[in-house]
Subunit: 336 residues, 2 copies
């Protein structure tokens, strides 16, 4: 387990003690549950660890804070192989390390299915937190990270387009030194690399944690992580800020990988390219679980290259695309 | 939900922000799971909330810290009545308030059974944490709070000695203004008050949180909360400190309520008073979930009345009672 640079007392006592240099602590809790957020036949234990950690770590980043520590509660059946639990821990540890956090506490208990509850702690380094409520008319809306990739990857899994070798490739593409080694490399992966990358984003989301700190330093007025879908999450920002968020359809045009993935689905095969483009755009607008960061910045802010401007803030309420309300549900439907 | 005096950003954003005045944060996570830590036919939702909060809050107190905040993750079936969830929240809120903490974050998701995972945060007020590892030969061992009451209460529940009215009385004895009102008062409780109190300790543990801070100020060298049983938990202290803990059998003589409860059990009825006394002593030594605090203090420390001296620290290893190793398992067996 990574100790974390700011850990004063780690696992092994009644509680952990973590430094909070700026005199406050940022904290968030999130859960992943078997059958709802993952399936053990699709996700390796390592994948589940990465996803469980990423969900909470992204919430800290979305406040403009840096991650310092994780606490993990695992409920699992007595029949769970010991290797599964250690691989889960490896995934949690790898993602915590990538975010700069230690794993400082945990609890385990028996239950009928696997539930992983992760609490993340962070530090604001003396800055004010970036809330959902600070967006002002005239601000630009930008995003760091992918949109719709996780949803596309899930659709490929659901459609049976992903073989064990593809999942193996998806895992192997992350240099983890953990659960998967070179022996897991697929002899004959069926999916092109760009599509395997979509599956990987679903199985192992990779939020751009340091973009959160960067946005805060750049003066972001509001920020949120895209966990429920872009429209739904910017809807939270619009509501908390008392503004309308207007997105640019052109700026959200799906990339080639998303269009290619959509074309593989049975629904698109029967309806042709126009349908593929529609499916891909839906992933961008409503797909959750990429855990990218979207933020509002004052007009004229010079943004680093990884921040892509996708819209602007206007007076009013709700979220529009090219000044038009989106039809259909704004957010992400979990798989049951 | 109680906001908590130190909460800067509460529920409603990606993360909470809680002040950490002394520049570090104390953190612990614990879970309660249906079928393992509670049964819905024995515990009200309010009871489960109190117990879930108390387990984590006690871990913070056992470091000598004061509680500041809770984050709660609830996994539950879609069939769970809405009232059950709000009563759970009332129990969590009441116990958080009793400990001085706010409820600052949460997550909910569907699962096949009820799991409540609670992360507690605390502040050391500038003191060093009281670890398990600081006990030194010559120190005295003392306890604040009850021992074996929760185990006795559970045994009464298991033996069918507790009727619905008794559980109602146990609930009603806590002035919560929440789940139970005057209408829940039993018309004819079957258990004497002292025994209903044991049941209440099992259903709604009431750790002496402020005794943790008090012990730290008094110079406690080691501390732990009694969650797994006195012998098991002091075994952790002995191991971490590299010492032997020797308990005084006389100081641990069970009180009248425990002896009376033991006498009601079928096993005791067949074997007489000697067996009752043995059962009651076993509860004191190995019963978990009272979440009392036990600590080591330098010799000569003048202890407030709620701290009862029960032993001393000697060179060596392990835990003894009157210099004799205890036979049987040292710790608490959950009910499956």
């Amino acid at each position: 387990m990574p100790a974390g640079a700011l850990t004063r007392v780690g696992i092994g006592d009644d509680s952990a003690v973590v430094s909070a240099p700026s005199g406050s602590v940022v904290a968030a809790v999130d859960m992943v549950i078997e059958g709802r957020h993952f399936r053990r036949d699709w996700s390796s234990a390592y994948d589940v660890g990465v996803k469980a950690a990423a969900r909470s770590l992204a919430d800290i980043a979305a406040m403009g804070a840096v991650n310092t520590a994780l606490l993990v509660a695992l409920a699992a059946p007595g029949t769970l192989p010991a290797r599964w639990a250690t691989d889960l821990a490896s995934g949690l540890a790898a993602e915590a390390t990538r975010a700069g956090a230690g794993i400082v506490g945990g609890d385990t208990a028996r239950a009928d299915s696997v539930t992983v509850s992760v609490t993340a702690l962070g530090d604001l380094e003396g800055r004010a937190p970036v809330l959902r409520s600070g967006a002002r008319p005239g601000d630009v809306i930008a995003v760091a990270g992918t949109l719709g990739h996780s949803a596309a990857g899930l659709s490929l899994l659901r459609a049976g387009a992903v073989g064990p070798a593809d999942r193996g490739e998806a895992r192997d593409a992350v240099a983890d030194g953990g659960a998967s080694g070179p022996e897991a490399a697929p002899a004959a992966a069926r999916l092109p690399a760009a599509l395997a990358e979509l599956v990987r984003t679903h199985l192992r989301p990779a939020p751009p944690y340091d973009a959160g700190r960067e946005a805060a330093i750049l003066g972001a007025t509001a920020m949120i992580d895209v966990s429920d879908g872009l429209l739904a999450d910017l809807g939270h920002v619009a509501e908390a800020s008392g503004v309308r968020v207007n997105l640019s359809g052109a700026a959200l045009t799906p990339g080639a990988a998303l269009r290619e993935a959509a074309a593989l689905l049975p629904a698109a095969k029967s309806a042709g390219p126009r349908s593929s483009a529609g499916i891909a755009l839906e992933w961008v607008l409503t797909g959750g679980e990429d855990h990218s960061l979207t933020a509002a910045f004052p007009p004229g802010t010079v943004l680093p290259a990884r921040w892509h401007v996708i819209g602007e803030v206007r007076p009013g309420a709700g979220v529009t695309v090219d000044d038009t309300p989106h039809e259909g549900p704004p957010g992400w439907q979990h798989f049951r």
